[in-house]
Symmetry: C2
């Protein structure tokens, strides 16, 4: 961890989904998303203990197909929308393309396969972190 | 961006706060947090355009003082709590210590200094990304 040269993050898992292409990913969460499974790699299985079915979680991913040079976009790819800074949008193209996905855990299989609902990430997307949704970070 | 060797993220800004020590940071967002300012570095000023006062944002940080080898903790550091996987907790010690903070933008000064309310991160914390809070990712 070096503030000058950047921070190196390694995937702790990956997404398995029927969404195979970036263009197939819904642009906004409410466009709907198929069921998906988050595979946590064996080295990190201990970190999953305590996540139970029904839990709301944040899944942080690395949008590894992103263009990291993009600073402005037209939201939802619509030419009628004004150019907007990526920090004010959900654009996957951004300097540090970390995806933030809220999902519901349906089941935990073999201690490391999280079946989830509501995750709009393409198959093979690296997973960086999983966090609980709490009252003050989006829970209700 | 290399799935095998990890992903390198460079800070797009940093937190300025009166919280100077890790032990001074509230353990949970609802413990309260002082006002803070997120400085976006000049290279990324274009990415801020469109964030307006009153906006609810997610601020993603790098918890650079974290112990990345930790996979289980006792929540809130309380010995009465059972050992729990870090993915089920808000522990800053975790394999990829990305902080997820929800904050309200009070003002945007000189196009790149975001004065915010509700950010519990220590002074100097590197900022990786800023995202809007939307209805399906924690908004209301």
């Amino acid at each position: 961890m070096d503030k000058k040269n950047g921070f190196v993050f390694a995937a702790v898992g990956q997404v398995h989904s029927s969404l195979k292409e970036r263009t197939g990913a819904p642009r906004q969460a409410w466009d709907g998303a198929p069921g998906a499974t988050v595979e946590i790699y064996p080295d990190f299985v201990d970190a999953v203990e305590g996540i139970n079915p029904g839990a709301q979680v944040w899944i942080l991913t690395c949008l590894h197909q992103a263009d990291r040079s993009v600073l402005k976009v037209r939201p939802r790819g619509c030419m009628d929308n004004p150019l907007t800074g990526v920090f004010a949008t959900r654009s996957p193209d951004r300097p540090n393309p970390i995806g933030l996905h809220r999902a519901t855990v349906l089941a935990l299989d073999e201690g490391r396969w999280l079946r989830v609902e509501g995750l709009e990430a393409i198959d093979g997307t690296p997973v960086l972190d999983v966090k609980p949704v709490l009252p003050q970070n989006g829970g209700s």
